[in-house]
């Protein structure tokens, strides 16, 4: 055991320990949230908490369904808007774009990812909300008298506004992942396809996209996971209303993260209030972990 070997071993152990600490943080957070939300589970049944829309803490009613549905509405809209656009952009960047265009656009997209959410929120309030109020809502809700377009909320603060803002926020994530996985398709395959007389578009459609389909799904899921957790930007445009059960894209939606941010630390005096809010946080955390595991799992398989 020379001193050099000993140093080597020591370095290895210390680094392992630090890595372990970082990893255990996740479990500590899960444990902490769960233990704090236990007290509400002891009083109200899980069914009441998850499937009731009645949120009246002062009356001891802690139904979270409204917030869970709000999350579903807003993220679904965001995904429906952003996925087709992101996929096409990703394909264009990876396959068609001249190098100079690519070099110009890529940093711009990364910049989108780096903008602070609160700026998106302000922009949403100034631009998107009036857009929904003055154009989209009168046009769509007036013409399409069926689910999910019927609503009597004419303010513009809506699930749709939240969804549009979120869509812009998840663009960069989906685009950069798609761009990356398209690059993993070997050049020989493209050449083979082209030499058989296929056009560029046919090659992309039948060879490239076919190979990367699982990767695209992973990209969507990772975008979702970002969308599910986004707080302040959505909170500023979705019209978080406690009384409305969202039945339309034009209704107000109150997603979980916005709800937690708005109510945590308030009325610590009401029994179980903070326990209910922490349960909401716990549910949100589980959602995020699930999406991330799914997304990365698929991505790893694709990359192999």
């Amino acid at each position: 055991m020379t001193i050099r070997k000993f140093k080597d071993l020591l370095a290895k152990k210390i680094m392992g320990l630090l890595a372990g600490l970082a990893l255990s943080l996740v479990f500590l957070i899960i444990l902490g949230l769960f233990s704090r939300s236990k007290s509400i589970l002891a009083v109200n049944s899980l069914k009441d908490l998850l499937f009731s829309t009645s949120w009246h803490p002062t009356q001891g009613k802690f139904g979270l369904l409204n917030f869970i549905l709000g999350t579903v509405w807003v993220t679904t809209i965001a995904v429906i808007i952003s996925v087709p656009l992101s996929i096409l952009t990703g394909i264009y960047l990876a396959e068609y774009a001249p190098r100079r265009v690519r070099e110009f656009i890529k940093p711009l997209i990364d910049l989108l990812a780096g903008i602070s959410p609160v700026i998106y929120g302000v922009w949403g309030g100034v631009v998107i909300v009036p857009l929904v109020r003055d154009y989209l809502m009168p046009f769509l809700s007036g013409k399409l008298r069926f689910f999910p377009f019927i609503s009597d909320n004419y303010t513009g603060y809506s699930a749709l506004a939240g969804g549009i803002v979120l869509a812009v926020m998840v663009f960069p994530i989906i685009i950069s992942i798609i761009d990356e996985i398209i690059k993993t398709v070997p050049l020989e395959m493209r050449e083979a396809s082209l030499s058989l007389g296929a056009t560029k578009w046919e090659t992309v459609k039948y060879v490239v996209l076919k190979r990367v389909r699982p990767g695209i799904i992973a990209a969507i899921i990772l975008g979702l996971s970002r969308a599910v957790g986004e707080t302040i930007a959505v909170l500023m445009v979705a019209g978080c209303s406690l009384q409305e059960f969202p039945k339309s894209i034009f209704d107000t939606a109150y997603p979980l993260p916005a709800f937690i941010a708005n109510t945590y630390g308030e009325m610590m005096s009401i029994p179980l209030y903070d326990s209910a809010v922490l349960l909401a946080a716990f549910i949100l955390l589980l959602m995020t972990i699930l999406f991330n595991m799914l997304g990365w799992g698929i991505l790893l398989r694709v990359k192999e």
């Binding site: 909170l235 019209g239 978080c240 009384q243 109510t263 005096s269």
Partner: protein, 307 residues
């Protein structure tokens, strides 16, 4: 020698503090946006008198102030609503320090404005707009056909303004209907920009520095004596008339603001609160203009309670 004595006594008269024990230490405050500007001004003045004192103030809403004070994270929680019995049970002693009011706000482009300025809106109607949701059209409020629906706005974040507005119609914030907007400025902006919207906002936000109502907004007269007419002292176009009505007890949606301390305020914290309630502190409140100082009689009562 005589001159010397006069000089000494003069110095004593001018600066009674310099002969007292010099105060030192740190005071931390957090809480309501409504109290924040006044508290900052108090802190500045207090620090001028006692250079060795450090005062840290952060805003974040009444709920945060109450929670921080209960958890012992700060010396003083600034809370812009009445204390909850459960908070008192947790050892909070509330000190009545300021008061202000919450005003219903509409856009000055609202087609119902002339009618509202004539009739005002009474408590029952407010209840039907904000709680039961029976009223969805301006027609039902003013009794004349204009065929416009009401866009009801409320606060999404837990706050004193919403609690007080709900308290005026004998309810809680969780019962208020409407589209939730984050923060005082956000809600005021939404109500101001939407020609058929209605919202509510704090005294500290609805008036500009000059004491006029914020541009583009109008305060809806609250028909507090239920006579179906908006009386002269129910219509406010500037801070002055609003203050007068509050002082005369004519405006119903007022609220008291408190300093929450864990247990009775002692030592430095007590000194600071006494300063805030002194004549000098009161002058500062009126200079800042975002809150109302409490009457001399009330100040005397509160100060007695501190002993």
């Amino acid at each position: 020698m005589k001159k010397f004595f006069i000089l000494i006594s003069l110095i004593g008269l001018i600066s009674p503090i310099s002969f007292a024990k010099e105060l030192q230490g740190t005071i931390t405050l957090s809480g309501a946006w409504a109290i924040y500007p006044t508290a900052v001004a108090w802190a500045e003045a207090f620090k001028k008198l006692n250079p060795k004192v450090q005062i840290d103030i952060s805003a974040g809403g009444a709920g945060k102030g109450a929670a921080d004070a209960i958890a012992g994270l700060v010396d003083i929680g600034m809370v812009s609503r009445d204390p909850d019995p459960a908070e008192i049970k947790k050892g909070i002693s509330p000190v009545y320090i300021l008061h202000d009011a919450v005003y219903p706000v509409i856009s000055d482009k609202n087609p119902a404005l002339p009618d509202l300025l004539k009739k005002g809106i009474n408590k029952k109607t407010w209840f039907d707009i904000y709680i039961s949701g029976i009223i969805t059209k301006w027609d039902d409020i003013i009794g004349r056909k204009i065929g416009k629906s009401v866009h009801v706005y409320t606060r999404s974040d837990a706050c004193g303004a919403a609690s007080s507005w709900a308290a005026y119609i004998d309810k809680k914030q969780e019962d208020l209907k409407g589209v939730g907007i984050y923060g005082d400025p956000g809600l005021l902006e939404a109500a101001r920009r939407d020609p058929i919207g209605i919202g509510y906002s704090n005294f500290s936000y609805v008036f500009t520095r000059e004491g006029k109502v914020v541009k583009g907004a109008k305060l809806v007269p609250v028909d507090s004596n239920e006579n179906g007419i908006a009386d002269a002292d129910e219509i406010y176009n500037d801070r002055e008339s609003a203050v007068k009505a509050i002082r005369a007890g004519r405006y119903p949606a007022t609220r008291k603001n408190y300093f929450f301390t864990k247990g009775k305020p002692k030592g430095l914290v007590k000194e600071f609160i006494s300063f805030a309630l002194s004549d000098e502190g009161t002058k500062i409140v009126d200079e800042v203009g975002t809150s109302l100082s409490i009457s001399k009689a009330d100040r005397g009562k509160v100060l007695k309670g501190l002993e």
